[in-house]
Structure formats: C-alpha cells, structure tokens
C-alpha cells in the first residue's frame, strides 16, 4: 500500500509550496569521496518530520538542513561515527533509521536469529522424538506399501506405452 505513503508525501509537499527536491545541486560537495560518504550517511538518517523517509530521499526543508549539516561536519573533518554521534546528541535516537543496540532494542535485533534458532531446534527435537519413538515404524512408512508399489508399477507401465 503505497497509497498512504503517497498521501503523506503529498501532505508534506502541499504544506511547503516551494518544496525543494531531495539532494539539491548546490548541496553537493566538491570532493567526490566526501560526497559519497555524505550520501551513505544520509541514507541512514531519518527526516524527522516525514514518515519513514531518509534525509537522502526527502524533499522537506528539514531534510535539506540535515543534509547540509552532515556535509558541514564531514567538511570539518568528522569521522562517520562522530557525525552520527553529533546528530544523535542533537536530535535523539529517533534520527537513526538503524537503531543502535541497547537494552531497549535487543529484542528488535535478536528476534530474527532467535526465531530461526527456536524454529530449527523445534524441528530437530521433533525429528529426534519421532525417530526414537518409532524408528522401525518410520522405516516401514518410508518404504512403499504393496498397494503403492502396485500403483507405481501400473503408472510406469502406462508411461512406457504412452512413450512408444
């Protein structure tokens, strides 16, 4: 449903009649390496007045201010980490599109491996239990019953005649 997002994007555009575009030509740094760093950082930072847009994508004036701020810090010689720290100190964790791992976000980060691990273990123990409870029975079930055998032979025979 892009619908809602489109509506919101529009609301922002409508609110600011002279909406500027994401990454304006005048923002671009002359040093290509630094500009690339700025772009990469911009993709990880949220435009706080938009819905789930990075400042790299957003057309809002605030995003432009943040983009300029990022470039300012980079020009001043900050490392990527320092730029991020600076922005978090100013605007809070909300500005990060990739939350940092802490006591409040560990569940967010570890749910995927936990779910995968738990699912894997559940399947494994189920397989083990089944193998222990009826290994021989399983063998019998894995092999074909006489009826199934007969049906298979019948199908193979039918296939052969069809191909002739």
């Amino acid at each position: 449903m892009v619908l809602k997002r489109a509506v919101l994007a529009l609301a922002i555009v409508a609110a600011m009649a002279t909406a500027s575009h994401a990454v304006q030509p005048d923002e671009i740094m002359s040093d290509a390496v630094k500009e690339a760093r700025a772009r990469d950082l911009s993709r990880e930072l949220r435009c706080m007045v938009c819905q789930n847009q990075s400042i790299d994508d957003s057309e809002a004036p605030l995003a432009r201010d943040l983009r300029l701020l990022v470039r300012e810090r980079i020009a001043a010689g900050d490392s990527d980490g320092q730029v991020i720290d600076f922005l978090v100190a100013r605007y809070g964790e909300f500005v990060l599109l990739k939350p940092r791992l802490n006591s409040h976000t560990w569940l967010l980060w570890f749910l995927t491996p936990l779910a995968l691990g738990a699912g894997g273990i559940a399947l494994w123990t189920q397989g083990r239990r089944r193998a222990r409870s009826g290994g021989e029975q399983d063998e019998a079930l894995l092999n074909l019953t006489p009826e199934e055998e007969a049906r298979v032979n019948q199908l193979i025979a039918a296939e052969r005649t069809a191909e002739k």
Partner: protein, 661 residues
C-alpha cells in the same frame, strides 16, 4: 436518492451477513441441509447488495453529487472520468467499501462454485466469512459511512489528492485487496476445519486454488504498487520498507509459506496443524495491515489517541478475530491427526525449510514494523526502524532460502537424495560461479556483495530450468519424445519453474539497481547537455501545458547516443489549480531493454535554470518482471488439472473430471 439507496443496500448486506453467520452453523449442528444451504443464498444476495452499494458510490462520484461529503472531499467536477471512478477508493470510506465488496465477491464465488465441497464444510466456511463481513459492515456503518450528506452542499469539490490521480490508483488498491481479502477464504476454511474437527488432504486441495488466486493478486498488487511509487514519487526508489508496504509484505510472506505447506498437505497429508496455523496467520496479517493503514496509528501514536474511534474499532475486530481464531486453534489443533512421515532430506523437508525461513522473514518484518510503536507506547521512547535495519536482518534470510530453492523440486517425496540433487544441479552451480567471476572481474573494486547475489540469482533460475529439463529428459531423450513429455508435464510443474525463476529474475534487478545505479544531479538551462552512462541528455526547452485540472511546466530533453537523437523525454512539474498549491513531480522514463533512464525535475530558479535529477537504472525492470513471472507461474499452477478437479467448477464438468480421478 442514490446515496440513500446505497446506504440502505449496505444495511441490507449487513443484515444478510448476520443471518449467514448464524443459521448455517445451527443447520450444521442439527444436520439440517436446507438451513446449511442458507449460507449459499445469503452469500450471493450479500454480493448483489454490496455491489449495488458500491455502484451507488461510483454513480455519486461520477455525477459529482456534492451533497455527499465523501464526494465533496475527494472529487471535482473537472476531474477526468477515470479518476472520478478510481477516486471512489482513493479515500478511507470508499476503500473500506471496496474491502467489503471484495470480501463479498469471494464469499459469493465460494457459494456459486463450491458445488464439490462437503455441505457442512461449505456452510461453516461461509458462516466464518460472514462473521468477518458483519464486523466490517458494522465498522463502515458506524464510523466510516461514505453516503453521509452535507447540510449546505458546496458548488465545487475539493478534488482528489494529485498524487493519486494516476492510473496506478485504478489497479493497485483493487489488486492488493483481492490479495489481502482473498486470504480470508483460507482463513474461513481453516476455522471451519477446526470447528468441525476434521481435516484431510482433500481440504488442502479445496483451499489451494483460493490461496493461489489471492497470492497471485497480492504478488501483482505489491509489484504494481512498487512500480507506481517508483515513477510517481519522483526519486526513483521502488521499495522503502515503509510500514504501509510492510503491511502488504507480511501477508505475502505468510501466504507464500502457506502455498508451499498446502502442497505438502495435499500430497502427503502431513503438516496439517502447521498449515492451519499459517492460514490463520496469513489473514490475521492482512487484518493487521488494514488496521495499520486505516487507523492512522502509523502517522503517530498520538494522532491515533486523539481520534481513536476508527482505530479502536478495527483494533477490536483484530483482537476478536486473531485472538478468537488462535484460541480455537490451541483448543482444537491437538485433536487433528498428524499423518505422512518423512525424512529430513526430502521434498517435504525442503518445504519445511522454506516455511521456516519465510515465517522468520515475516517475523522480522513484523517486529521491525511494530517495535517502534510498541516501544513508544510502553516507554515513550521514540526510535526509527528503516531500510538499513531490514537490509541487515531480512536480507540474509534469503541467502539460505535461495540456495535451497532449486533443491526442493529435485528431491523426492518421503526421502530424498541430496547428493543426487546436487549432481543434477552442477550445471546451475557452474553457471552461477562463472557469472559470479565475470561480474566480479568486470566491476573490479566494486562491492563484493553484488557478484555473489547475481550468481545466486542465476543458480535459482538455471536450477528451475534444470528441474523441468530433467523431468522431460531434455538432451537425454530424442527431441520429439522430450517435447511430448513437456506437453504431458503437469502445469503445476511449469508453474513452479516460472515462479522460482521469477524470484531469481527479481533478485538480478534488485542487485543491479542498488549496486550500479548512476545518478547525475545538476542545474541546467535550455541548450545544456549532460551525460550519464553513455547517454547524452540535452535540455531543449521548457514548455507550459494546461491540463484539465492542473497546469504543468514540462522540460523537453533529447536523448543522444553518439551525437544522434534516439528519443525525447519530457518530465514535468504539475500545479493543481483545484487544490491550492498542490504540486506533483512527473518523472519521465525511457526504457532501453530492461534498463531505464529516469529524469525528474526540481525547482526552477529565478534565472531560468532548473534543477534536474537524472538516473540510469540498469536492468531495473527485472525487479517487476520477476513478480510477473511468479504470478504467471501461479496462473499456470491454477490451471493444473489436479487443482481444477478440486477447484470450483460447475457440477456438469465436475462429474467427468471426478470419474477420471
């Protein structure tokens, strides 16, 4: 008069739904066939009345009846006819009416084509369908009535949001809803099976075609929405990990898992309990999506708290249906007998792995979407979860999944031969490694991720083809015989090939677009030439146009290759006269093979220069071609004789087919 009739038809549909939710259940209890059959007639009648109600709303919009609030707020007499119609579901009330219309459509289809279903299963399933319908009719009638009149009708309407005045709105929401709501059928069948305490392989065969239909529409709906965002929002992104998108991705992931587990259940009578759970989950996630989108909770938790009427109502529906169905599941699931044993290395085993990875992926999207909301409600702390998070957590799950995809169809049921499958996939492996090496050498110094991902995608595609080649004995048998075998192969086998290859195709598009996208952002004046990826772009001039309800400024570019003009592109900026100040950026796209040039405009400066963003997106169209392949595979699979046997068909042809079984 039309508004009142539409409203009344909706009330009648609600009444019919109430009858449909109770009488058939009582009929099943008392073993009374005529009472059970009430479900059929009410489902069909419900469809007729909802359709009438929906038609009434369309008529109001088309005739620009500004005495109805919904029309005033979303239409304009100057709006082109197509957008007058699509505008019906371009707003909250109308889209909810579309939602129930599609729900009634599916209910009606089950009633009309469900001749081959056991009568009590059909009665139960249609009753459950009516529970859902009743809840949503009540929601519409109490909180979102699209037929409300206004005391002092204005002369003119406020027009539809300009971003939505696009052909995308005509196709995307209906497709998506057909997918979302389609999963209600497997949900209703699952609940019916739990109520009856009986479930077998035949159940899977009845449910599979419906699930497949829903899945096909959801796949196309999501792809369509993605392409719409790509060209309409003007910055060339095609997936934003936006909560609203995630809301549609979650049911898709669960639905894809469900399709695969239904195969196991149908063929081997195994994984019954799990399949039931997935059926419940797929629709629950659709409901969750509806809640997220329709309640306003995403915009802000506070906006939700300020006007909670609609949100709380849907939340209540959500809790009753999800809570109720899961409780029923816990109570009754243990009574369902497990059947069909299999070794870990087998077709079943591969499908279980598929399910594990897809549901984990679904859980990842779930937690990423809802965690910020939950954290804010519980601690007041605000965090953002965006694309970088999902790329890190969701992405890696697809690596083992894609490696496993080609193995699945090559393994035998019950107990497979992994080594044998691997041997048959050697060609795919070699092709993948070769391409990996070529791409790596070609883009030396670039990302290491891209060549690996391209190799993986190729492995999936070639692997899918090898499965078919093996089955028909291509190169092994004489060509004529292989061809005859190919024709005799079940259509679902071809479906598998196309769907799996589609995944690989989409992956190639995704990797190429994200890794080798070039962009050129600059200001240009008429006469300026700039270059991107071997193309020259000359800005010829700026021309104003007058549309029916907007004014636009178009920038006309000539596209040059080796100094020769091969095409023109005219991106524009539109100002909507009917909505003060509203403007949209209309990007211009030029396809060259599967790659695209993309131009969108920024502001025009006082000195007449204009800011432009030009992209070259290599093989970007494959991103959407992949889902088209997947959906095509789904359609092939749907046309398989085996499913037609179990699928809805008029009684006459049914008998003939059953005899053949």
């Amino acid at each position: 008069m039309i508004a009142e009739s539409g409203h009344y038809a909706l009330v009648l549909a609600f009444g019919l739904a109430l009858i449909q939710s109770t009488v058939p259940i009582l009929g099943a209890r008392w073993r009374d066939f005529s009472l059970m059959n009430v479900a059929r007639s009410t489902a069909v009648a419900q469809l007729i009345f909802v359709a009438a109600s929906f038609a009434a709303l369309i008529a109001l919009h088309v005739s620009s009846d500004f005495s109805v609030i919904n029309v005033v707020e979303n239409s304009h007499s100057m709006k082109p006819l197509i957008y007058k119609i699509t505008g019906v579901w371009g707003n909250h009330e109308g889209s909810m009416l579309l939602w129930v219309s599609i729900l009634a459509l599916f209910g009606g289809l089950v009633a009309i084509f469900g001749n081959n279903l056991p009568i009590s299963l059909r009665a139960h399933a249609l009753a459950v369908q009516a529970w859902i319908a009743s809840a949503f009719y009540l929601f519409i009638l109490m909180t979102s009535n699209p037929f409300l009149r206004i005391a002092n009708p204005p002369i003119e309407g406020q027009d539809l949001n300009p971003v939505l005045q696009d052909i995308g709105l005509a196709v995307h929401p209906p497709m998506l809803y057909l997918g979302y709501v389609g999963f209600s059928i497997s949900f209703s069948f699952a609940i019916a099976a739990l109520l009856e305490g009986r479930i077998d392989a035949a159940w899977a065969r009845w449910v599979r075609p419906w699930t497949l239909v829903a899945w096909i529409f959801l796949t196309l709906g999501i792809a369509m929405g993605s392409y719409w965002a790509y060209y309409e929002l003007g910055w060339g992104g095609w997936w934003f990990w936006d909560p609203v998108e995630n809301a549609s991705l979650m049911p898709w992931l669960a639905g894809t898992a469900l399709l695969h587990s239904l195969v196991v259940m149908e063929k081997r009578n195994a994984l019954k309990v799990w399949t039931i759970l997935l059926s419940i989950l797929a629709f629950s996630l659709s409901l969750l999506g509806t809640f997220l989108v329709r309640s306003g909770v995403l915009t802000s938790v506070h906006a939700f708290a300020n006007d909670p009427r609609r949100g709380v109502f849907i939340l209540l529906i959500l809790c009753v249906f999800i809570g109720g169905s899961l409780s029923l599941y816990i109570l009754r699931a243990s009574s369902l007998k497990q059947g069909g044993l299999f070794a870990p290395i087998s077709r079943e085993g591969a499908l279980v792995l598929n399910n594990l990875l897809l549901t984990t992926a679904c859980a990842t999207v779930f937690v990423g979407t809802l965690y910020p909301l939950a954290l804010e409600v519980m601690t007041g702390e605000k965090i953002s979860v965006g694309a970088p998070f999902f790329n890190l957590t969701f992405g890696p799950l697809f690596v083992p999944l894609l490696v496993a995809v080609p193995f699945g169809p090559l393994l035998a049921w019950k107990r497979g031969d992994l080594l044998g499958a691997a041997q048959r996939l050697i060609a795919a492996g070699i092709a993948a490694l070769f391409v990996m090496a070529v791409v790596w050498a070609w883009t030396r110094g670039g990302s290491t991720f891209a060549p690996i991902a391209i190799g993986l995608a190729l492995f999936v595609i070639v692997g899918a083809v090898i499965d078919i080649a093996e089955r028909i004995g291509l190169f092994r048998l004489p060509a004529g015989l292989a061809l005859r075998r190919a024709r005799g192969l079940p259509r679902s086998a071809w479906g598998t090939m196309f769907a799996h290859a589609g995944v690989g195709i989409a992956l190639i598009g995704i990797v190429c677009e994200t890794s080798w996208n070039s962009e050129n952002i600059r200001t240009m004046r008429p006469g300026d030439v700039t270059n991107i990826a071997g193309y020259g772009l000359k800005l010829e001039n700026l021309t104003p146009h007058q549309g029916s309800n907007y004014r636009e400024m178009a920038a006309n570019f000539s596209v040059l290759v080796d100094g020769r003009v091969i095409a023109t592109m005219s991106p524009s900026k539109r100002n909507f006269t009917t909505r003060s100040g509203a403007s949209t950026t209309e990007a211009a796209l030029l396809s060259r093979g599967a790659s695209q040039l993309y131009i969108s405009l920024g502001d025009i400066a006082a000195d007449g220069s204009i800011a432009v963003r030009i992209y070259h997106k290599p093989l970007v169209l494959l991103i959407w071609l992949g889902p088209v392949f997947m959906a095509f595979g789904g359609i092939l699979s749907l046309s398989d004789r085996r499913l037609r046997v179990g699928a809805p068909k008029p009684a006459k042809s049914m008998r003939g087919l059953q005899a053949a079984e």
